[in-house]
Amino acid sequence: MVRFVALKGRTQGIRWSQSPSVKEKGKAFGLMLLSLFLVLTQSACTNVVVVHGSLPTPLVEKIPARLGVYYSEEFQSFQHRENLPQSGAFEIDLGKQNLYFFRNLSSALFAEVREIDSPELSAEQGLELDAVIIPSIVEYGFLVPAMSTLTFHEVSIRYQIQLKDRYGKNLGLWSFVGYGKAEASTFGAGEAVGEATMLAIRDGGARIATEVAPAIATALKEAGIGHQKELAK
């Protein structure tokens, strides 16, 4: 096949040398082809991963407490960049989707939620809020089939949630992993990693709703914070 194409190219080369205008056109066409090749190879090397998918509201009982939630700048714009020897570079932007999910999740978990711009409460905020939670992404990792020898792409996100009372006293720290996996996609590894990331965020949310939230409720109760049932109504 390669030999066939090379022979054809040589034949066309002889024909170009007969007319200067055709030769110039050929050069321009060649440059265009080279540019296209460079563009294609550059984009093939970096997998820009778009994370999207359904982020449902959890069906759980609200914890009767008024909480401030602090999303750090790093959490809001979390990105992961990694260069894999066999699979190329990956650029995964999950901050936006993760933030959207956490906003939805925290509103469903607590009676009253307010986003705050500092992990410490001001005197005024201290009067209106019972405690503060600070979610963070500690680690993001992914595996492609070439590395794991399995047929799917895997993603793990290690989250941490810190709970503080209105005076800044630490009430608890929970660390857990959200895991997702997705089959290799026809549209490349990027799409599969994106889908696995979405499932890992979703799994992390399931762990928060079923494991961390009850633990937070217990910690708040033990600290004598916001246990009035009517708050939830």
């Binding site: 030999r3 449902p56 069906l59 979703r202 799994d203 949310g205 399931a206």
Partner: protein, 216 residues
Amino acid sequence: MIIRCTVILCLFLSGCVTSRIEQSRDTVTGIQADEAMVILGRASYNDRETKASFTECIEAELSAGRGAIRLIPQDKFKDDLYPWFEPRTAPASASDLGRLFAEPGVRARIDEAKIRYLAWIEGDTLTTDKGGSMSCTLTTFGGGCFGMSYWEQDASYQASIWDVNQLTSAGKISADASGTSYIAGLVIPIPIIARPGNAACKGLASQLREFILGGN
């Protein structure tokens, strides 16, 4: 004439599949016209899980034709009941349904959608053997493929049906299918494809429909 020839050729080129369907019933079943069923693929954190394409095939078979059953799409069901049917939290057996239904809002949402049965589909299609060799060449004088290669696939699936009203297991249906596919290279490659996964889907869906509508 062309269509008839194509159909005959397709039938001729389809590989042989042998399948076996087995059923065990625990309770009397039946479904009202307004009641629904959900087909759920069992996902796990190991290297094997039921592919979405298989559950979609079952859904397509059950919701069409005579005796169609009203189905709630799996993704919608999981979103509506999030986080209770995620791989980490999904009930492992029908006896766990009682505990799950005690969670606030779960029973109400199931009742609202009029869901009567949950059918958990577990299993996958594996390539158990492959061999042979085939090479294709292309030159300035033409090209062609010579040789033969084959692969054997085994599809093994099980459906566990849970009665949501009675919070018990209604029964189980299993489907096993196996077949060997060939590609023979006689200048042009001629594929003779066996589709055990498709046979298992059709067999399982047909039996599942009979099971749900069949009664006792």
